[in-house]
């Protein structure tokens, strides 16, 4: 058995490497920037470094997501011990120009530079995404140099499992997957569960359309997730973990597979982790395209190789989960918060956000908004600050109509509630949910009944078919919404729709069905006049 990694030595070595060259060019190589051509840009810069014989002067480092995805490819240039500059829409040619301008002329290239003082950057508080745009996701050393695996080392060598759990309890962390269940409560259920075999599952089945924070974490900071899993396993007495990833995220699967191998080689996973008695094996399991598998019990069925069909609870997974053994399911973003909490203490985390919703939340900002991308803000940030400051408002002089949170399980929040703090409880009061963090902005031209129909079609297609209200109820709700948006609906159709909303919400078996009416109910609540305007003139009968 090889010796475990020496975190401090690696950190030292990385520091030396960092100061080896005068310039470091960090280029975002995450999926959004890749789609915008980051691959070619990075290659062009690397080639130029070689061609211009700058190898001793410059190192080019591909990194994870820098956040402002709409402006990609993004590139940062850092000078040893000094200035930093950030550039947007960097084509291969621009990339070479930027390189030469900095290295040869000691000057920035203002026409492509982004002001990093704008609220998009300055109003964020990065905990989960701290390494985004900083580390090279393919190198464990890069993660370690930025404090990676120190939390695991600290926990394994200086803390008892119950102390780790206590720290999480102090932090007030709640599940980032949607419902906001207190993480420590879940952990203590698993910790208290009898038996030798216990499982941990990281839920990376990020199915909400519009949300991609979990993918970004898995792709751009895989070791952060692994460290979180290891800490959770240590605290709860589990020795086997699965990461369930959507098949739509091949890059995340590849990165995680590699990260697991590397972590095992460095004795951060596997047998006798860091020479302690703690063993943990981690495996990636792949979904195959089913939104319902984000539901805990459906996810477990899918890991077991079966149809992703939810089952009745109780028994809860922490009593009977995978293969009948106690199992705990945590969302990827939840687990990505664990290492910082152990490093900095639960009280530090609890000081962020609001008393009941502590910490930060990552949002994927998209739709009709100037700056789209991935942002991280303290819980309780006002929706208005996110939309108007960070997001830069609705473009093209159009008005803001609604913000959609929680995807097909969430709702649409109208302009009059823009001053609502974004936290679990406030969103629920407005008839929406936090969800996994998709935040889609809609301008005044969007017809809300169309939005409701869009989400109902989604829920209808994704219903597993097990329970009647969800299987057949979503079909009928979609049918009614189709008739209404076609201009053929009647007042009775609206009444039938509202009744079905309560049947499906109250009588469905799992969260998918129970939440499926939310987009309809919230748009009926806030935009009812848009529905009424679509109704046809009713023929007066008898």
């Amino acid at each position: 058995m090889a010796a475990p990694i020496d975190l401090h030595e690696v950190t030292e070595r990385e520091r030396e490497e960092r100061f080896r060259t005068r310039w470091r060019v960090k280029a975002c190589a995450s999926t959004a920037c890749q789609s915008a051509g980051a691959g070619q840009t990075i290659k062009a810069i690397e080639d130029a470094v070689e061609a211009e014989d700058m190898m001793l002067e410059v190192q080019v480092i591909p990194t994870g997501c820098m956040g402002l995805c709409s402006a990609g490819p993004l590139v940062r240039v850092l000078r040893r011990g000094g200035d930093k500059a950030m550039y947007q829409k960097v084509t291969p040619e621009t990339g070479i120009k930027i390189l030469k301008s900095h290295v040869l002329d000691e000057e920035t290239l203002p026409e492509h530079e982004i002001d990093t003082e704008i609220p998009f950057f300055s109003s964020q508080e990065r905990v989960v995404l701290a390494n985004g745009g900083v580390i090279n996701p393919d190198r464990i050393e890069s993660y370690v140099a930025h404090g990676g695996y120190l939390a695991l080392e600290k926990a394994l060598k200086t803390m008892k499992p119950k102390h780790v759990l206590e720290e999480i309890r102090t932090s007030g962390l709640r599940g980032r997957g949607g419902a906001g269940y207190p993480t420590a409560s879940k952990w203590s259920l698993l910790a208290a569960a009898p038996g030798e075999t216990k499982y941990i599952v990281a839920n990376g089945d990020e199915g909400d359309p519009g949300a991609y924070m979990d993918r970004t974490i898995m792709e751009d900071d895989p070791h952060r997730l692994l460290e979180g899993i290891a800490l959770a396993a240590y605290a709860t007495g589990a020795n086997q973990a699965y990461i369930y990833v959507r098949a739509e995220y091949p890059r995340a699967i590849e990165r995680l597979d590699r990260a697991i191998r590397v972590a095992r080689r460095n004795r951060l996973l596997g047998r006798k982790i860091l020479d302690t008695k703690f063993d943990l094996s981690v495996e990636v399991r792949i979904g195959a395209g089913a939104f319902v598998c984000g539901e805990e019990t459906a996810l477990l069925a899918s890991i077991e190789g079966r149809r992703g069909i939810p089952r009745l609870r109780p028994p809860y997974p922490t009593e009977k989960g995978l293969w009948g053994e106690p199992t705990m399911i945590n969302n990827v973003e939840t687990l990505a918060n664990i290492a910082p909490i152990i490093n900095n203490g639960g009280e530090w985390f609890a000081s962020l956000g609001t008393p009941k919703s502590t910490g930060t939340k990552v949002f994927a900002l998209a739709g009709d908004i100037t700056h789209t991308g991935l942002i991280e803000v303290p819980m309780g940030t006002k929706l208005r600050d996110i939309v108007e400051d960070i997001g830069g408002g609705v473009p093209d002089g159009k008005g803001f109509k609604a913000a959609q949170t929680g995807g097909p399980s969430g709702g649409c929040i109208p302009a009059k509630f823009l001053d609502t703090p974004v936290d679990y409880d406030s969103l629920r009061e407005l008839g929406s949910i936090m969800g996994s963090g998709g935040l889609i902005i809609m301008n005044e031209e969007v017809r809300m009944p169309d939005v409701a129909k869009y989400f109902m079609e989604f829920s209808m297609d994704e219903s597993c078919g097990k329970c009647t209200p969800c299987r057949a109820g979503t079909v009928q709700m979609h049918n009614l919404l189709q008739r209404i948006t076609d201009g053929d609906g009647t007042k009775q159709d609206i009444r039938d729709l509202e009744h079905l909303c309560s049947v499906v919400r109250d009588a469905s078996l799992c969260g998918l069905g129970q939440a499926a009416p939310n987009p309809v109910m919230s748009t009926l609540q806030y935009f009812r006049s848009e529905y009424s305007a679509l109704l046809r003139e009713e023929v007066a009968h008898g």
Binding site: D208, P209, I286, A288, G289, A290, G367, V446
Partner: protein
């Protein structure tokens, strides 16, 4: 019993790289099965591997996997049809996937699907009769900042319009003619 199965059952002395089914692509499936120690919970992973290898899941392949994992055929069929990403027909020469996630929807993805579908006479989720094009929709590709997003033959294309996608598809189809 399919031909594939019969030959598997009858094979006793196999040679390296010479799969008893007569189709060496099954070797890749076998390799995966072996690595997973023929555990039944490997069903979904195995179907992924088989689809990667063959391009789609034919009945023969499903039967092969069912027998290898000792699972009832109806269960394997039930699992394969439950998940969106498994496909049972050979894919077309070109593939066009339009993201219909919320951000793309807000920015008009529906129109893109409709125009590609109408222009090239291929229903969403299907392959054209001449097998030239498969038109698919995706739930969300997680590239919301680039909405609307289209993936054509593996290339992710951002900020698409009906016109741009239709002409792009047209160029590729025309180029083959």
């Amino acid at each position: 019993m399919s031909d594939t199965m019969r030959s598997v059952a009858g094979a006793s002395n196999r040679q390296q790289g010479d799969h008893p089914s007569g189709d060496n692509r099954f070797d890749l499936v076998d390799k995966h099965l072996k690595r997973g120690r023929y555990a039944q919970d490997q069903l979904i992973e195995t179907l992924h591997v088989a689809q990667d290898v063959f391009g789609f899941l034919s009945e023969d392949i499903l039967v092969y996997v069912a027998r290898a994992l000792k699972l009832p055929p109806s269960m394997v069929y039930g699992v394969a049809t439950f998940y969106e990403l498994f496909t049972f027909d050979p894919p077309g020469d070109h593939s066009c996937t339009v993201c219909t996630g919320t951000a793309c929807f807000v920015k008009g993805a529906d129109e893109i699907v409709a125009s590609v579908s109408n222009t090239y006479n291929v229903p969403a989720g299907k392959t054209a009769e001449d097998n030239s094009l498969t038109l698919k929709t995706a739930r969300c590709l997680g590239s919301c900042s680039l909405a609307p997003v289209v993936v054509f033959d593996g290339d992710v294309l951002s900020h698409q319009t009906s016109e741009s996608t239709v002409s792009l598809v047209g160029a590729a189809l025309g180029g083959d003619a």
